[in-house]
């Protein structure tokens, strides 16, 4: 077995990968074969199919979650108990309070603005001649990785003194308009808003796609009935379109909110959390791995977990309601 664990060359690694795939297929075949025997009790069948998944969830999710919670009550090396002092520090220290405030700004602004932009855009381009092209343009950022998008926007925000040739698009526009060039990523809270703009840029395409599909699914007879009643465009939007696609809007908002809570790449790539731009996920990484403050890091992870729960619960409840209505 030793050769399996100490692979050096890529060829050896591929061989090990091949063996692992064969092993997986063999085990699955065995499970399927055994559970298909006519006299096998049902509980064995259930266990054979659910067991592996349950084990993976326990070892990959439940166990790390419990360990993280325990770590959040311990000191930096995980040897001594410190009670609630990590939590006290997260809520008490000015630097970390800014992190929490920034996270709140992100979670409020990104889902609302992206959904609003996506919705308005979807309605505006609906059934126009340029619909496909217009949608493609807004959807494109979705295809770019977060790090890629961050690097693009880092160039957009790039700063050079007013008197010098500009390399950043935003500052070039300012200079053309006769203003001084600005350091967009330096002053709080504006720098956080400029970072949020990147996430909105990425997520609007997602919101637009889902909402556009949902708008197209509104039955034609409802729209015709409304038109016969002589509604204005605004009344149509407010009283027909939005109520009809409400479940989709909820899904979009909550999905983007969850993605926003986890966002890390944008802050890490563009400012590294400097200049008071850090948010919980980035701060967690920095504290745990760069600064070796595992206690604070675990506490931040637990807080992130706690913050996601209400959004997930709300999402699940809304989905259930939507299903009941059908």
């Amino acid at each position: 077995m030793e050769f399996l664990l100490s692979t050096g060359t890529p060829v050896e690694k591929f061989i090990v990968m091949g063996i692992a795939i064969l092993l997986f297929v063999a085990v699955m075949a065995l499970v399927l074969f055994l559970t298909d025997r006519p006299r096998m009790p049902q509980w064995i069948t259930v266990l054979a199919f659910l067991g592996p998944a349950a084990l993976l969830v326990v070892f990959g999710l439940v166990y790390p979650a419990i360990v993280t919670m325990i770590n959040s009550f311990q000191g930096d090396s995980g040897r001594d108990w410190v009670g609630l002092s990590n939590y006290a520090e997260v809520f008490g220290s000015p630097a970390l309070r800014v992190v929490l405030l920034n996270t709140l700004l992100w979670v409020l602004l990104v889902p609302l603005v992206s959904t609003a932009v996506g919705l308005v855009y979807a309605v505006l381009v609906d059934r126009t001649r340029f619909e496909k092209l217009a949608k493609t343009l807004v959807f494109l950022p979705m295809a770019i990785s977060m790090v890629g998008a961050s690097i693009i926007w880092k160039f957009v925000y790039d700063f050079k003194p007013t008197s010098q040739p500009q390399t950043g698009l935003a500052n070039q526009l300012l200079v053309w308009l006769g203003f001084d060039s600005q350091q967009f990523l330096l002053t709080w809270p504006w720098n956080t808003f400029f970072l949020i703009a990147v996430m909105v840029w990425i997520q609007s395409g997602f919101a637009m796609t889902i909402l556009s599909a949902s708008i197209k699914a509104i039955p034609d007879d409802i729209i015709e009935a409304a038109k016969l009643d002589g509604v204005t465009n605004w009344q149509m939007f407010r009283s027909v379109t939005v109520p009809s696609i409400r479940p989709a809007v909820v899904v979009v908002v909550t999905t983007i909110a969850m993605a926003t809570l986890k966002v890390f790449d944008i802050v890490f790539t563009m400012t590294g959390g400097n200049f008071d731009t850090s948010i919980v996920a980035n701060e967690f990484y920095t504290r745990s791995f760069v600064r070796a403050e595992t206690g604070i890091g675990a506490t931040l992870a637990v807080l992130l977990f706690v913050m996601v729960i209400p959004i997930v619960v709300y999402n699940v409840r809304q989905m259930k309601l939507a299903e009941e209505q059908r």
Binding site: G8, F268, F289
Partner: protein
């Protein structure tokens, strides 16, 4: 936890890594001149067929010269050296140790990290072997041994070194204007004022401390260099060891002295903007305005020579060169240095032999011959003629001169939460407007 570990593709700029540019075009040629007489290697015994894995923060293209430098050792002893570089080295090494997947040897660029690893993973570390320790005793200034020692046991042997106390300048610009290289801080300040008066379109200094997640470290080097000069090596040691508070009045004075340059709009930031632009200018680009005369002076380590554009002549009469950052007393010559340390995690003879080889003059000379400019070690057995650039030779002179007082980069010696944490962010906040006292108090409060 697992979610963040997947992000290894994002780069973390390593603070104080040795520089290096180009690739290894000249390597083969240079290697031919490496002495391959196997005599010095007989002491390691018979190691035929064994393998040593090295894990380091030094990645392409700088890794090439290291890999080449193992050749004489590999050929003479029969050991195969497997080299693995990672930009995420500092965060991944503790993760690997935690997971029981320790490399045979790691090259740690911060004594503070050596100490943290020894404290957190006492069962994984192996003290420096006898042969390597004998080499360090014989060829290195004794301060180097102290940086690798934790609680009286010797764990980290020195590898490469760099000298931080340099000010880069353009010799031609100095000649045109009749400027002299300053020998004291006051001379340097007077020169800066002179430059500001002579060149209203330029600023005397340029600076930049942006370095991704490590933003702020070049500013910590400034403070450490001035601390070492203004307060003296003894107080510097007390400060780094936290025997005096981080916001001691001597530190306040030193940081204010740094502020006379870095926070003075008349002094910075040549061609790059106002004082605040220092915080957002990448450290690698900050010195480049020297080439177009937007600024005249840039304080940065010897490895900065790798950042000059290709074709820039680094020489005393070339496009750019560097002088020693002067102190208050022209006689005393304290030098702020950085460097890497080799640590073992496997108690096998071939690993010990490699560690001893890396601390020997044979390796330092072999490495110097195959390295592009920007690499130097503090090994006194190194022949300076093997170093490629005059800056490396100047750095080597300072490193091995008995008259110089050598002190290691303070932030690299402090615990990670300070040295790579609040000290970095504190200096960044200081540049962007916070005052000296409140920044130093914030850092002091974070040190518990």
């Amino acid at each position: 936890m697992a979610a963040s570990l997947g992000l290894a593709g994002v780069t973390l700029a390593a603070c104080g890594g040795s520089g290096g540019s180009g690739g290894g075009e000249d390597v083969d040629e240079a290697l031919a001149s490496v002495d391959v007489s196997c005599e010095p290697y007989e002491q390691y015994g018979d190691l035929e067929g064994t393998t040593v894995g090295i894990y380091t923060s030094i990645v392409s293209p700088e890794d090439q010269a290291f890999i080449e430098s193992f050749t004489p050792f590999e050929e003479c002893t029969g050991v195969t050296v497997e080299y693995e570089g990672s930009r995420q080295f500092e965060t991944q090494l503790p993760v690997r140790l935690e997971a029981g997947n320790a490399p045979d040897m790691a090259w740690v660029p911060q004594p503070g990290l050596v100490e943290r690893i020894v404290n957190d993973f006492p069962d994984a570390v192996v003290p420096v072997g006898e042969q390597a320790e004998a080499n360090v005793d014989e060829y290195y200034n004794e301060s180097w041994k102290g940086y690798g020692t934790v609680d009286g046991t010797y764990y980290g042997a020195p590898l490469g070194a760099n000298v931080k106390s340099f000010v880069w300048y353009a010799p031609a610009a100095f000649e045109e204007n009749g400027y002299e290289i300053p020998e004291t801080w006051d001379d340097m300040y007077a020169l800066s004022e002179q430059i500001a008066a002579d060149h209203p379109d330029a600023k005397p200094w340029c600076a930049g401390i942006e370095s991704g997640n490590a933003t702020g470290w070049p500013a910590t080097d400034w403070l450490e260099d001035v601390m070492l000069r203004a307060a003296g090596p003894e107080v510097y040691d007390q400060w780094v060891a936290h025997e005096i508070p981080f916001d001691d009045p001597t530190v306040v004075d030193a940081l204010n002295q740094v502020g006379t340059i870095l926070k003075n709009p008349d002094m910075v930031n040549g061609g790059l903007g106002g004082v605040e632009s220092i915080a957002v200018t990448p450290f690698g680009e900050a010195g480049l305005p020297i080439l177009d005369r937007s600024c005249f002076l840039h304080r940065q380590a010897s490895f900065y020579q790798a950042n000059w554009p290709e074709g820039t002549n680094v020489a005393e009469d070339g496009d750019v060169f560097a002088f020693y950052l002067p102190g208050n007393d022209p006689e005393a010559q304290p030098v702020l240095v950085g460097g890497e340390f080799t640590m073992m995690f496997a108690d096998r003879p071939e690993v010990k032999a490699l560690q001893a080889y890396l601390a020997s003059p044979e390796w330092s000379n072999a490495k110097a011959k195959v390295s592009p400019p920007g690499w130097v070690s503090a090994n006194s057995g190194l022949d300076p003629a093997n170093l490629k650039s005059p800056i490396d030779q100047l750095a080597y002179e300072l490193l091995t001169d008995e008259a110089t007082t050598i002190r290691f980069d303070g932030s690299d010696l402090m615990p990670a939460a300070i040295g790579t944490g609040s000290f970095w962010t504190g200096m960044t906040n200081w540049i962007t407007g916070e005052d000296t006292e409140s920044v130093l108090t914030m850092i002091e409060n974070s040190w518990d």
